[in-house]
């Protein structure tokens, strides 16, 4: 399973990162060597191993169903690059 330019283009689309055409060859080279390194794992037979599901041996802790947050619209909006008094504002979405 090697990584090539097409896969990188596909993945960058999924990750919403546009990749500079001029940089794509270098990127392909880097990622190929990283994947070659990663694929050392294929030497190991893991057929009988369960994947790790959690690093902690703790139960999931619950929260009570109480309203104790919200009503901080100004704080929520204050760091936004574009907003009005009530909303975050983004370029038009095309459905």
């Amino acid at each position: 399973m090697s990584i090539d330019k097409d896969k990188i283009k596909h993945v960058s689309k999924l990750a919403r990162i546009s990749v500079d055409e001029r940089k794509i060859d270098d990127l392909t080279k880097d990622l190929s060597s990283i994947f070659k390194f990663i694929e050392q794992l294929n030497e190991l037979n893991t057929d009988k191993v369960e994947p790790l599901s959690s690093i902690l041996n703790e139960p999931l802790r619950y929260r009570k169903d109480e309203i104790n947050d919200g009503k901080i619209r100004d704080k929520i909006l204050e760091n936004s690059p574009k907003k009005n008094e009530e909303f975050f504002v983004v370029p038009k979405v095309i459905e």
Binding site: K13, L14, R16, S53, S54, L56, E58, P59, L60, R61, Y62, R63, K64, D65, E66, I67, N68, D69, G70, K71, I72, R73, K75, I76, L77, K82, N84, E86, F87, F88, V89, V90, P91, K92, V93, I94, E95
Partner: protein
Amino acid sequence: MVGKVMNKEKGKYLIEGEKGKWEVVIGLEVHAQVSSNSKLFSGSSTKFGADPNTQVSLVDSAFPGMLPVINEFCVQQAIKTGLGLNAKINSYSVFDRKNYFYADLPQGYQISQYKNPIVGEGKITLDLPSGTKTIGIERLHLEQDAGKSIHDLDPSNTYVDLNRSGVALMEIVSKPDLSSPDEVNAYIKKLRSIMRYLGTCDGNMQEGSLRADVNVSVRKEGNKELGTRCEIKNVNSIKFMQMAIIYEAQRQVELLESGKSIDQETRLFDTKKNETRSMRSKEDAHDYRYFPDPDLLPLNLNKELIENIKKNLPELPDQKKERFINNYSLTAYEANVLVSEKEISDYFEEVVKTSDIKLAKNWIMGDLFASLNEKNISISQSRVTAKKMSQLIDSISSGVISGRTAKEVFEIMKESGEEPDKIIESKGLQQKSDPKELEKIIEKILTDNKDKVEQYKSGKDKLFGFFVGQVMKISGGKANPQLVNQILKDKLKK
């Protein structure tokens, strides 16, 4: 074009194409909002209708370093709903991240459950005109709702409101066991009814508490294999679901009959144009890259918790239906209607606590339902409360008013919400039930119409009705009909 070629034979829904008959196969993914105070992973309110972005915490808007903590109540409600669907509760389940970019998805992923949902297979029984049908439930899982993108406030921008972001949803996935728009109607209503009985979801479709993604495919009649399906996203009323299915099935039949194939895709139902269309913007987002959310641990449910919830489960529609048939001698049809909504069954049971059962069911299913339809309101919004309905029925049973007068009283009640006793009193609608008074009236009528009395006695039986009519006319409709009949019969014999 659409709807013309529908054909119902023996209750089976088929589409008659140019080249044969086609069956429709439908599966639903219902998104039901958990009736909780706060969100699935944060402490902000879930209340409907608040000002934009006022019910948003730092967690809901995905600020750096914010972490989810799960709402215990939501987990319990999912278990409860699972039990109400006769489903297997999974003691081990996992929260996964579903990754995609959208303006109203602040984290860039939705926390959902993918491989290991909290609830496994179950079933729902539908009562259809053709009999009962069991619809399989594939799974139920918990997930976060997204926010809302508003496209029509500004010509060049989209506005984002995150009030709904993080609200707990139960996604209930059916097997592809539904085969007509009518079955979809029955399924949604039954599912909603079960959740309302349980109190786990208010089922309010106008407020978006219940929405569905509808999977539609078609196949030649009798064919066992499933066709390629299309998913119609986020339909928020039963009527639109039905319209979308009718349109989509027809579209697919036409495509297949012209030798084309169906693309498995996500489609949108345009309610204005009554058509479905491809959602191109979602296409490249299909690869959701699910993986277990490392900010959360697996959810391990202990047996006692599940048993405890099971023990405290309320009576559900199917059980109540059985009880109504047995205790109140209702027909299966009547029982079905009366248990269809928890509010209706509660209303019925309150009325029959003190009042006549037969009158109660007839009045509720007759005049009351008609008034609800006319006003487009639910039973709990009616001004005729169960208590008032009981009073009305009791005045019929005790002979204070006739059934006919009762209808008059009801017409006033449904508008003003006045008590029936007060209406009867103030309008003087009580029946005349004093035999001496009635005898006086009847004697006068018989004296004034001697010729008709002769004709009656010589065999013209039909004239009996004329005499009754005269009594009613003179008494202003208030004479007790049973008493009038009895006195008239006695007098005319002599």
